[in-house]
């Protein structure tokens, strides 16, 4: 027998604002974000391998496609849409644009969020550090060379923001 799932209400912080959502227990985080009109996190491989569904939960990157929406109750959630919410692109976003670190752009939101995480934790990563940290993000257009350049450029931009 298929159980009938009861809707439940969860409350959390979404991109800086307190929100409420009616969810079903078997829905994942990506599905729930779509109800808020947020499509930056997108399910691609569906297995946590490709990074297209990256979302920050309580300051940590997670795969939204492997994360139950129910587990978001009480959490602080940040999506790629938040990065430019003040009207200007983040240094990481600028670096991706200037370097041309994408072709189709499908994987870009995930890469951008992961690079934010990387540079928050390690402001001056080596190429080895960059490759290691981003090994769980796939770009099927293979813009990897430009992405690594973008990370370096973003690190420089953030350094000059911090000192200037």
């Amino acid at each position: 027998m298929v159980p009938t799932a009861a809707q439940q209400t969860i409350r959390f912080t979404l991109n800086g604002k307190p929100v409420e959502a009616r969810i079903l227990p078997h829905h994942n985080l990506v599905e729930m974000l779509q109800d808020f009109g947020l499509f930056g996190a997108r399910e691609s491989c569906g297995q946590g391998l490709c990074g297209c569904c990256t979302v920050l939960v309580n300051g940590n990157a997670v795969s939204g496609c492997l994360y139950l929406a129910a587990f978001i109750d009480g959490a602080d959630v940040v999506t790629v849409e938040h990065l430019a919410s003040a009207g200007t692109l983040s240094p990481v976003q600028e670096a991706f644009l200037e370097t041309g670190a994408f072709q189709c752009g499908f994987c870009t939101p995930g890469f951008v969020l992961m690079v934010h995480q990387l540079l928050d934790r390690n402001p001056e990563p080596t190429e080895e550090d960059i490759r290691h940290y981003l090994s769980g993000n796939l770009c099927r257009c293979a813009s990897y060379r430009e992405i690594i350049q973008a990370v370096r450029s973003a690190a420089e931009k953030r350094k000059s923001c911090a000192t200037g």
């Binding site: 298929v2 159980p3 009938t4 799932a5 009861a6 079903l24 227990p25 078997h26 994942n28 569906g46 297995q47 946590g48 391998l49 990074g51 990256t54 940590n60 990157a61 997670v62 795969s63 496609c65 492997l66 994360y67 139950l68 129910a70 587990f71 992961m114 995480q117 290691h132 940290y133 090994s135 769980g136 993000n137």
Partner: protein
């Protein structure tokens, strides 16, 4: 995925009460990264999940005792262990193995208890923990028990745990001067599931070996110790002994064919990787290795 209910107990004891012994469609969930894959694939169709995320925070703590014993709460995330000073001091091979376990996002969410209870033979920590002589403390409705990680796995995706038993804590004994290493071989891409994992832990004095543990994983139904190869290592470390140990391990490990490679291919991997893992543990360079 099929609809299901989620229960949110506030304590581990309460969670155990909610699990019950008889219904296979009621299961615990912690990080959920592995269970989500099974549910999405339709391999597992729960009616109810018992979430462990709101239980006592003590079960997510990691401490290093004065004697060097590492106690890791089952709810500790893999990334918390990767960056834990206690783990780096008590058993650095664990932190090193975690660096190449899946990816940053999965490590941020997956827990060590779930990693062990899932019993996927391709997982990286079981062979490492078996080599280090680790145990898990397991709580159940009527009695609690300590199980060596070596005895935890009953087979492919199977543990010896009852449906209403939960891993509470992982205990890694003091390692003293023990030398350990974990190497894995992925055959499709660097971040793929391994075709083979090899963990070794050696108590040595110069080239003499008092105690040797080798654990083969991923290529086998469950993590397996090739005891004849371990015995060969106790002859003392030399090039000839390492070659004999690798050959013995390949012979006795019981490797299986799957999408990661044929059994014949994986036997050859075992032969090569056992030798490499021992060299890595003892920091003996080979011509082919850029660094030990």
């Amino acid at each position: 995925m099929m609809p299901f209910e989620i229960a949110e107990p506030r304590s581990l004891r309460e969670a155990i009460g909610l699990l019950g012994r008889d219904d296979p469609s009621v299961r615990p969930i912690a990080g959920g990264t592995a269970l989500m894959l099974m549910m999405k694939a339709g391999v597992f169709r729960p009616t109810r999940l018992v979430s462990l995320r709101s239980i006592e925070p003590a079960f997510a703590r990691t401490t290093l005792g004065a004697e060097g014993e590492l106690r890791i709460g089952a709810l500790a995330s893999l990334s918390s262990l990767e960056h834990s000073q206690a783990v780096l001091n008590g058993a650095p091979v664990i932190a090193k193995a975690l660096r190449t376990l899946s990816n940053v996002r999965v490590r941020n969410v997956a827990t060590v208890g779930g990693h062990l209870a899932h019993a996927d033979p391709h997982m990286d920590l079981p062979p490492v923990l078996i080599a280090l002589g680790a145990r898990v403390s397991v709580l159940g409705p009527s009695c609690d028990r300590l199980i060596p990680v070596e005895n935890l796995f009953a087979g492919y995706y199977e543990t010896v745990l009852a449906r209403d038993e939960l891993i509470a804590e992982l205990i890694v004994p003091p390692q003293g001067g023990r030398r350990a290493a974990y190497l894995k071989c992925t055959t499709r891409s660097a971040d793929d599931w391994p075709a083979l994992g090899v963990a070794v832990a050696l108590d040595t004095d110069g080239t003499a070996v008092h105690e040797a543990r080798i654990v083969i994983s991923a290529a086998t139904h469950k993590p397996t110790r090739p005891v004849a190869a371990e015995a060969i290592l106790r002859d003392g470390i030399s090039d000839a002994v390492l070659r004999r140990a690798g050959a013995a391990a390949a012979e006795e490990a019981g490797v299986i064919s799957d999408t990661h490679g044929s059994a014949a291919y994986k036997r050859q991997l075992v032969r090569v990787y056992v030798e490499r893992a021992v060299r890595a543990a003892l920091a003996i360079p080979t011509g082919k290795q850029r660094r030990a």
